[in-house]
Amino acid sequence: MNATIFLEIGSGSGCVSAFAGKILDTSTLYLTTDINYRACNCTRRTGSQNNVTLDAIQTSFTQALHSRLKNSVDIICFNPPYVPTVSTEVSEAQDLRGIEGSWAGGSDGMQVTNIFLSVVHELLSFNGRFYLVALKENNIPEIQSRMKTLYQLESKIVLSRRAGREHLSIVRFKRALPGLS
């Protein structure tokens, strides 16, 4: 696949972006964001140990990049904090920018994810793809129908697997072609 710009939100250890860098061709700029400084540093080092240059940026979602990346990103990946928790735990975790922010997801585990779901359509290029990790409890059918109705992004579950007690899926979104479906 040809991708000029790859972007991962909440890159953490950096292993997803580094892996992407190994399977995509070399004509790609890899941008990663994370609110945690140590995660950004780790992302960068994981990249360099795998000979993939990852440009790590410490920011929330795509703040600071958003205006310049409109309709420009070919691949977006987001493994969000999807674990259902009490709602207050989310805001605390995000404000503290610590490790809890990597899992605490609020009442249906969607509190952080939903913020990004409302802007991702602005970032995708014409043929862009957005890959989201979701838990069964996040109500994937609801996410899919909402994204179609509100933002004309159609989607498909491309992989599902059980990891311990979590039923995990990868949902892939793309722009719906006008006139079809």
């Binding site: 000029t4 710009i5 070399t26 004509s27 790609t28 700029l29 941008l31 609110i35 400084y37 950004c40 540093n41 960068r44 240059t53 440009d55 790590a56 940026i57 410490q58 920011t59 929330s60 703040q63 600071a64 990049l65 958003h66 205006s67 310049r68 990346l69 420009s72 404000d95 920018r97």
Partner: protein, 132 residues
């Protein structure tokens, strides 16, 4: 690292700061040079996405901080050329991908907000009251 290709994508996003908020100006920067694989196809695909004037200016700012003998050629034409010869693409490659800003500050030309760069990581976070 903040390479100039990435710097060309960063704008100030503080509350109310919506015009003249790009490009962020470098101050007190420390630069490292790292060789990258020359890939003309990537450069040609990426060129339409660049804010050209911002890149030319930022390359000048970066080159003011370090001797040209060390930094290499950072001169770019004021307009994107129509014919892309090898010499131009090599310069562009060097400017975009081989100059790494490891330490320093990026300042918004409009609201003067400071975004620090530490160990190559730009900190673009804003405090709660600064978010628009």
């Amino acid at each position: 690292m903040v390479r100039l290709i990435t710097h060309n994508l960063l704008a100030c996003h503080a509350k109310g700061c919506t015009s003249n908020n790009f490009p962020l100006q470098f101050q007190n920067v420390q630069i490292e040079l790292k060789e990258a694989e020359f890939n003309p196809t990537f450069l040609e695909t990426f060129m339409p996405k660049l804010e050209w004037k911002a890149l030319v200016d930022s390359a000048k700012e970066a080159s003011a901080t370090i001797s040209r003998y060390i930094l290499g050629n950072t001169s770019l034409p004021l307009e994107q050329p129509e014919m892309l010869d090898e010499e131009f693409l090599k310069n562009l490659h060097h400017v975009l991908l081989e100059i790494h800003v490891e330490e320093g500050i990026m300042i918004c030309p409009n609201c003067k907000h400071n975004y620090p760069i530490s160990n190559g990581i730009p900190n673009m976070l804003l405090a709660e009251h600064e978010i628009g």
